[in-house]
């Protein structure tokens, strides 16, 4: 059975996307280039096989798909030596430094899933310890990758059950998500709960990832888009904190969603079966709170997050639960599609998703209906607003402003019926408003994700922007789109982006390694750092990355470009330097220092670059030198928050 055919079965796994996902870059840039992958050879005895397999494993230092494939293919061919393979992998995993562990786990994962028998069985006794020990040792990013992998194990076996059996699965999950308080999410506050917020979030993340990949495959799948936006909202809700009962319900439904994912291929679920419309129209009539004095104002059901079970609320938690509960109690979840709409309708009832569908009630009376077909909906909306505002009879005089009843409710509320449940921002219910609302929810999602990713990392007040940036930054963007993080696109930032792009292009350049030279170490004449070689799968060739060949010498493309630029144009150099000084955030990191560093080292270490290049370079090196030294002097131990 070919491996390629098999991979389809876990095509939804995150690292399957592009050759086992983003390559894990080892922190040490000096690792030896892996030799070309040889064909499997035949072994006669277990010892020879063990030696050979160990040697091959040693090459698995980066997340390289070919190596993992080869190793798992060998494992498949020699399944009579399964125990040896298992031992080798365990030894290897225990021996290598943390940054090398993930690829080996991917191998373990690949072998167990693709070959399954007897490997899954053989790994079962050791996998819990191995996983947890590794999990302890690695950094946060790798951890989340491992969590993703762990989630795929739930349904990883050919019959859709736990890959290493339910006992192992539960043992690992309980350990990393269970009552631990290391996750500093608010969920940690109620001790002794059976489900932690971190776990739900992690699973949500996973399902979301799956859906996003489905969307990538078929970008026009409105249903999946919809699901994603629901899941994102759900995430925000969970992050904000939901009661234990809800966590349970959400988890059950999420699991129901993931269970069948291994059998049907990724292409989206049939949209026809999605009962969207009914779930809207079934929205129960909301009892208006007794205090609502004006008919056009429509109240929304209170958000089911309580100080302590407010009993007198017109709509209560129980409203969220009924549609969820039946699913939660059934032991075998049925098809996935009704389930997500189950979540969805629950959300609608909970008021998390409010007017994504047909607008209900007030809000449209103040302005004319906008036929979305005609000209430009945006300018139409503006015109409608202009009309509405100008129709208010008010003069800017002391008597006029105190005499009238303000027509403010219309402006602030009725025109904008869609409200974000996270922050209270409002949006109109026309197409523009919907778009803005989507972007706005995305923003919350992104910021939440950033916040969870940055847990434990200290934040700090940024320096203010420079005067030029302040003047030239444009304030077109508003609450809808991204820049709630305060970043405004300015000329400097654009310049920095361009520089980064240029650098990426340079780094993508390569020179084919002449045959036979694969193992020969070679350094860039400018920076004296070794050139990295890597294997191009498509071309089946070894190449030096970030390299150019000039006059029979191989340079780093970035070094060479920098040297040429500094030789030819003072202006270019100045432009590259300035952003790193005057920019407000992440001052020294963003732009060109990576390019500078080699030059820097060069003129300090070696005294003999070509004179023509030296003129332009030396001064710069000195500049950088002073900056660096000063920083070293300036920055001793970080002072942590005291309060």
């Amino acid at each position: 059975m070919s491996l390629y055919a098999q991979t389809a079965s876990y095509a939804q796994m995150p690292y399957q996307g592009q050759g086992y996902g983003p390559t894990v870059v080892p922190p040490n840039p000096y690792y030896a280039p892996p030799p070309p992958v040889p064909q499997p050879v035949f072994h006669l005895d277990a010892n020879t096989f063990r030696r050979d397999y160990m040697t091959r494993l040693a090459n698995l230092t980066v997340n390289s798909r070919p190596i993992i494939q080869t190793l798992s293919m060998i494992a498949q061919d020699y399944n009579r030596y399964a125990d040896v393979v298992v031992q080798c992998i365990e030894q290897h995993l225990r021996r290598v430094p943390p940054w090398m562990k993930l690829p080996s786990f991917y191998l373990l994962d690949a072998i167990s899933k693709n070959v399954y028998d007897p490997y899954a069985r053989s790994f079962t006794p050791i996998v819990v310890r191995l996983f947890l020990d590794t999990y302890e040792a690695v950094d946060q990013q790798t951890r989340s990758k491992m969590e993703e992998m762990l989630l795929t194990w739930r349904t990883g076996s050919p019959n859709g059950r736990e890959l290493f059996g339910v006992v192992s699965q539960v043992a690992i999950e309980r350990h990393i998500w269970g009552g631990e308080s290391t996750q500093s999410t608010p969920g940690g506050r109620d001790g002794g709960s059976s489900i932690s917020q971190a776990q739900v979030l992690s699973e949500l993340e996973f399902v979301l990832g799956q859906k996003e990949r489905v969307l990538l495959a078929s970008p026009h799948d409105e249903l999946t888009k919809h699901h994603i936006s629901i899941l994102q909202q759900l995430r925000g809700m969970v992050q904000a904190g939901v009661p234990q009962r809800d966590l349970q319900a959400i988890l059950t439904q999420l699991r129901a969603l993931t269970t069948p994912s291994s059998s049907p291929p990724p292409p989206a679920p049939a949209p026809a079966s999605y009962p969207a419309a009914p779930s809207y129209s079934q929205l129960p009539p909301i009892p208006a709170p007794p205090i609502a004095p004006q008919p056009p104002y429509q109240s929304q059901p209170p958000y089911p997050m309580a100080f302590e079970q407010p009993q007198q609320e017109p709509v209560d938690l129980t409203r969220l639960l009924p549609p969820v509960a039946p699913v939660a109690t059934t032991s075998v979840p049925s098809a996935p599609i009704p389930d997500i709409s189950g979540i969805f309708s629950a959300l609608v009832r909970a008021g998390v998703v409010s007017t994504t569908g047909t607008p209900t009630g007030a809000g449209t009376s103040s302005k004319p209906e906008e036929p979305s077909q005609s000209a430009d909906p945006e300018s139409q909306a503006r015109q409608a607003y202009r009309k509405a505002i100008m129709s208010v009879k008010i003069k800017l005089t002391s008597s006029d402003v105190s005499k009238h009843r303000p027509r403010i409710v219309e402006t602030l509320y009725e025109r904008l019926p869609t409200q974000c449940k996270q922050c209270g921002s409002r949006f109109s219910d026309d197409t523009i408003g919907k778009k803005q609302f989507e972007d706005h929810l995305d923003m919350h999602f992104r910021q939440n994700r950033k916040a969870t990713q940055a847990v434990g990392r200290g934040h700090s007040r940024s320096w203010f922007v420079s005067l030029e940036d302040w003047i030239s930054s444009n304030s077109v963007d508003v609450k809808g789109k991204g820049r709630a993080d305060g970043r405004t696109v300015s000329s400097k930032v654009v310049a920095a982006e361009e520089a980064a792009k240029r650098e990426a292009e340079l780094r993508a350049m390569f020179v084919v390694v002449p045959p036979g030279d694969e193992a020969k170490p070679i350094s860039c004449p400018i920076c004296k750092e070794p050139l990295k070689s890597e294997f191009l799968e498509d071309d089946e060739e070894w190449v030096w990355r970030n390299a150019v060949k000039k006059d029979d010498r191989i340079y780093h493309a970035t070094c060479h470009a920098e040297a040429t630029a500094s030789k030819s144009s003072l202006a270019v150099r100045l432009r590259n330097e300035r952003p790193s000084r005057s920019r407000s955030r992440t001052p020294e990191k963003a732009t060109p220092p990576r390019v500078h560093a080699p030059l820097n080292g060069d003129s300090r270490k070696s005294e003999t670059p070509t004179p023509s290049r030296l003129a332009g370079m030396k001064r710069k090196a000195e500049d950088d030198h002073t900056v660096t030294v000063k920083r070293e002097g300036d920055v001793p131990q970080a002072k942590r928050v005291a309060t």
Partner: protein
């Protein structure tokens, strides 16, 4: 009538009638949690999300107002009461009138006819540029905040510029600064240390008014009378740069600006009486003010009517009955909170007995993750920073000098402070780090320091004179982004 009932021992529920507000005041150590149970409510124009638990602290004094009625549930603050007499209707009318000006300005930019212009026919197409004046404790800042928040809530992509020329307020950074910032999302209220939102941090923020990018100048003192000439100059610098920005920013220009002023602009008696008119004139000129709002001050209103009434709209608006008389000690404490929050951020602990998750502080969903800041304590050489003081520390007013005598040191002269000398006054001083001066040496001038904006603030926490080094608290890691600093009269207290 408004009713309240105890939900349990820790929380109470209030039902507010339309157009009434619930006011609260907190003691120094107290915190408060408020949740909107149903209906719509807002705090100084920023709408609350239903069901979210909002936290308040650091002696916050604020009010939850409702246009349509609402029910809120909260823990017990130090002082609380409900009032149905608010000037919100007036503020809302002012907002609508300003909104008309914005709409007209934008239409003029796009060359569109104004439809059914039933408003003020005589008005041109100028966007609103509002100066808010008023005596102490009249709620000027609340008015400014409400107007700015209503503007951004219109959903028209308005980006009003909020200008704060009250150095005792400090606005987005530390007290002693005067600044301007474009506002893109409602300014949240949670603590008087960040009454107008906060400046950007490296943390991911949900509400852009918590990640503001201000243009800031450092005056360095709390009172205007300390150095009115400097103040005048800084105000004009601010105005000039705002005008520069507007040239490339139509949306921002049409949204207009709102200028919050210190109470000393309105003081009708005492010292600085002659200065305040100069200051008002500086603001009117440089910000091209076309609307003056006088909050609760009859005499000033008349004065402004006489001076500017023929050129622009001058309105008297009522002050809210909710404003609290604040004493000097309170303002001192707020300054301390502000400085501390600038460096360390501030996370408000939920009050005891509230068992809920997902608190919101100033609109931020995960305050415990994003509102803790870690400044950096670093040791620098005396030579690394050149510290100036503007004018002499104790300066008699010019009128007190003998007739014919000229000042040796002018009020505007930057003097280098030598840290090695005793009595340099640098220990525990708050310094403003200035943007680098013009790289072109020929463009430099003596008083350029007065015109450089601030890139950040540091505090000197230790001086080691023998080794010529000092320890500074810097807001973020990395090198100080400038080498020039100004010292004012604010002190850092850990």
């Amino acid at each position: 009538m408004d009713t309240s009932e105890n939900v349990n021992v820790h929380t109470r529920k209030w039902v507010l009638q339309a157009e009434s507000e619930y006011r609260f005041e907190l003691d120094p150590s107290a915190t408060l949690a408020i949740k909107l149970v149903s209906g719509h409510a807002e705090i100084f124009g920023a709408e609350l999300a239903e069901g979210k638990v909002y936290l308040f602290g650091q002696e916050c004094k604020a009010a939850v107002f409702t246009w349509l009625g609402c029910a809120i549930e909260m823990s017990h603050p130090s002082v609380e009461y409900v009032s149905d007499e608010t000037p919100m209707a007036v503020y809302a009318n002012v907002h609508l009138a300003l909104e008309q000006m914005r709409v007209r300005a934008l239409a003029a930019v796009h060359g569109l006819p104004i439809p059914e212009d039933e408003g003020d026919d005589t008005a041109g197409a100028d966007p609103p540029r509002v100066l808010v004046l008023g005596p102490e404790n009249s709620g000027k800042t609340s008015v400014c905040k409400t107007l700015a928040n209503y503007a951004v809530r219109a959903g028209q992509d308005w980006v009003p510029t909020y200008v704060n020329v009250d150095p005792s307020e400090g606005a987005w950074s530390v007290p002693g600064a005067i600044s301007a910032a474009p506002i893109t999302a409602p300014i949240q209220t949670s603590s008087p240390a960040s009454a107008l939102g906060t400046t950007a941090t490296s943390a991911p923020n949900h509400v852009s008014s918590n990640a503001l990018l201000p243009l800031s100048y450092w005056y360095g003192h709390a009172e205007m009378r300390r150095n009115p000439l400097l103040m005048d100059r800084l105000i004009r610098n601010l105005g000039e740069n705002i005008r520069d920005r507007y040239e490339g920013d139509t949306a921002g220009r049409c949204s207009g600006l709102i200028v919050d002023t210190p109470a000393s602009f309105a003081a009708s008696s005492g010292t600085g009486g002659d200065h305040r008119l100069t200051m008002i004139k500086a603001c009117v000129d440089t910000f091209q003010i076309n609307v003056i709002l006088v909050v609760g001050h009859e005499k000033l209103n008349v004065e402004m009517q006489r001076t500017y009434g023929n050129r622009m709209a001058v309105l008297k608006i009522a002050k809210s009955g909710g404003v609290v008389e604040l004493d000097a000690a309170y303002r001192e404490r707020i300054h301390k909170y502000q400085l501390h929050t600038y460096f360390y951020g501030h996370v408000i602990e939920p009050p005891v007995g509230i068992t809920s998750r997902g608190y919101v502080q100033a609109g931020e969903q995960t305050p415990d993750q994003t509102m803790h800041l870690s400044p950096l304590s670093a040791s620098v050489n005396f030579g690394d920073i050149v510290i100036y003081r503007i004018g002499e520390e104790t300066m008699a007013p010019s009128s007190a000098l003998p007739i014919g005598a000229a000042r040796v040191v002018s009020e505007m002269q930057p003097l280098v402070v030598d840290p090695t000398l005793g009595g340099s006054g640098l220990y525990n001083a708050v310094l403003a780090i200035l943007a680098p001066p013009n790289p072109d040496e020929s463009e430099r001038y003596d008083e350029e320091i007065l015109d450089l904006p601030v890139v950040g603030y540091i505090a000197i926490t230790a001086l080691d004179v023998p080794n010529r080094r000092m320890t500074v608290l810097s807001p973020s890691p990395g090198s100080l982004t400038g080498k020039t600093a100004i010292v004012g009269s604010f002190e850092w207290q850990e």
